[in-house]
């Protein structure tokens, strides 16, 4: 089985010469020297690569919305914020093979004819920051960045920006505000960033894993990329599992492996003494999947059909000895804290939700609280808030109310947490 994204991951990562020795920067050479920007975009579109940042939008399609005939700068941004709880795939790519990301950025920037690019990296990723900084410097030195790349006439600058900590910085329009030195609040769409983004100029924001796929698509073609997958969504996917499993970790696998394969085979099954109760398939802002979903294929359509989202593809497992109410309370605490406060339903609704869950967890819940939680789940759902943070926050809650209702009811009836320990 081919693992293009991770086959050359090492710690410390390959330096530029070593990366070149395993075929690195061939895609950049090929694209810049022998392809037109339109051809690059067409191949990526045909490969059926869907964004790995969570929303799963076709990457080539997104690029094709950039107006190519405007004057002035265009921008490409690598979204390396990765603050979604339970998600740790981009860290692996950043620390293990930063040149792959940079090469992906060069090719992507060429496709939209961007002249400036940024890696937006979160504060806590210190090792990644050092490796990316080093790799960018090496790429400049070798002539893959800067003026007149490889004598082609194409020029691209690349900067590393380290964030100052806020989940909202991952939302693409909030990220642009943050790059402009402002609070990371989201922007109204339209206009979309592809048309009016950073400093009002056309901008593409792509996830680290998405960008890391690009050199391989250019080298080996759209059909090859599609053939890596078990399903209609092209490529491999970096999946991960954390929680009470025997071998927590991340693996590059064909797109579309089943939940069972991930948990039982790759993660080595549940730890002795623990039973599987459910999992968030793609980070904190996805609905629970449960026992009946073991055969669900982990691609965008498969997980959606099961009532959840593939999200980041990194799964958090809930076991039978962890309280589902405490689990969801922890998630809502995170979302309430990280709400940017820009729109009222989210600013007011999330702390309320958190308080209700905390009361239930501590045995002070009332019968009517479950209906109240359900109404929050609806009122903060899609369409009622300015951005996707609040609807994302409601996904684990609404599905917990559905699948673990007994647990909520027991807390209220017995006036205590049946699982014990809840001191924070």
């Amino acid at each position: 089985m081919e693992r293009p994204l991770t086959q050359h991951i090492t710690f410390p990562p390959l330096g530029l010469r070593q990366y070149e020795a395993v075929g690195g920067y061939q895609a950049a050479r090929k694209a810049i020297r022998h392809m037109t920007p339109q051809e690059v975009t067409a191949v990526v579109k045909e490969s059926n690569l869907k964004g790995r940042g969570g929303a799963g939008f076709s990457t080539g399609m997104k690029w094709s919305f950039v107006p190519m005939d405007v004057s002035g700068p265009k921008y490409l941004v690598a979204n390396a914020d990765e603050m979604e709880p339970g998600t740790f795939k981009d860290r692996w790519l950043l620390e293990g093979n930063p040149h792959q990301l940079i090469e992906g950025m060069i090719v992507s920037a060429f496709a939209i004819q961007a002249t400036e690019s940024f890696v937006f990296l979160r504060w806590a990723y210190k090792t990644a920051a050092a490796e990316v900084r080093k790799a960018i410097a090496e790429a400049y030195e070798a002539g893959y960045l800067g003026q007149d790349i490889l004598g082609s006439g194409y020029s691209l600058e690349m900067h590393l920006h380290t964030g100052v900590g806020r989940y909202m910085c991952g939302e693409e329009t909030a990220l642009l505000n943050s790059l402009e030195g402002k609070r990371a609040t989201p922007r109204a769409k339209p206009p979309f960033p592809q048309v009016s983004g950073l400093f009002g100029k056309p901008t593409i924001v792509n996830n680290v894993e998405t960008l890391s796929c690009i050199p391989h698509i250019i080298n080996k073609g759209a059909m090859w990329f599609q053939s890596l997958s078990h399903t209609a969504d092209g490529g491999t996917k970096i999946y991960g599992v954390s929680g009470k499993v025997n071998k927590p970790g991340a693996w590059e696998l064909p797109m579309g492996v089943t939940v069972r394969e991930l948990i039982e085979e790759h993660a080595g099954g549940m730890k002795n003494g623990y039973r599987f109760r459910g999992a968030l398939p793609g980070g904190a802002s996805t609905d629970f999947l449960v026992e009946e979903h073991m055969e669900v294929k982990m691609d965008f359509a498969g997980v959606a059909a099961a009532g959840s989202r593939l999200g980041t593809g990194t799964m958090v497992v809930l076991d039978d000895r962890t309280c589902p109410v405490g689990f969801v309370h922890n998630l809502e605490h995170f979302f309430a804290q990280e709400s940017c406060g820009f729109c009222t339903p989210c600013r007011e609704g999330l702390p309320w939700t958190e308080k209700l869950l905390w009361a239930i967890e501590q045995g002070q819940g009332r019968d009517e609280d479950l209906a109240l939680l359900a109404s929050h789940a609806a009122l903060l759902g899609p369409g009622n808030t300015f951005c996707a943070l609040a609807p994302g926050a409601m996904e684990p809650l609404q599905s917990a109310l559905k699948y673990f209702r007994d647990d909520f009811e027991r807390h209220i009836k017995e006036k205590k947490c049946p699982y014990g320990d809840h001191i924070h």
Binding site: P85, W123, E338
Partner: protein, 154 residues
């Protein structure tokens, strides 16, 4: 008052962006690098150099979790309190840290050595629970490992 070195670094950032204001976060980072935190005076100084109002600069500074508007200790402990670390027992780490340091979240030890802060997912959930001290990441932690870790930081 900004030092010459702070000023020079900020000026350099200003030259890289199309609008002075756009250097706001970078300027705050520079001040914090030099002084560990950003005081009201620091906010006013940054506002002056960027031709912004102090309120505007403060609204940016207070938005971000890791710009400190209060004095912090010599070492910052960021304890991951997100979901995988929750499942894997970050609360036991928290209890042990509170025991060892005798401070709550947001507080600094009286000797100015440590500030303890909760932090969202450190992106190492497969090695939960985890925490960072300054630039160092510690993973797969058990509470009894904490004493030795803290001892490394004077």
């Amino acid at each position: 008052m900004l030092t010459t070195s702070e000023k020079e670094q900020i000026e350099k950032e200003i030259r890289q962006v199309p609008l002075k204001k756009a250097a706001c976060i970078e300027a705050l980072k520079i001040v914090q690098q030099h002084r560990r935190w950003v005081s009201d005076e620091g906010i006013r100084d940054v506002a002056d150099i960027l031709e912004m109002s102090p309120e505007e600069v403060d609204s940016v500074a207070t938005f971000y979790n890791l710009i400190f508007r209060q004095p912090v200790g010599r070492h910052i402990i960021l304890l991951c309190d997100s979901i995988s670390c929750y499942v894997m027992g970050f609360r036991d780490l928290h209890r042990q840290l509170v025991n060892l340091l005798n401070i709550q979240y947001g507080q600094t030890t009286p000797d100015g050595r440590f500030t303890l802060l909760p932090n969202p997912c450190l992106g190492t959930c497969d090695h939960a629970p985890a925490l960072m001290v300054d630039n160092d990441l510690y993973r797969d932690l058990a509470p009894d490992a904490l004493e030795n870790i803290l001892a490394k930081y004077t």
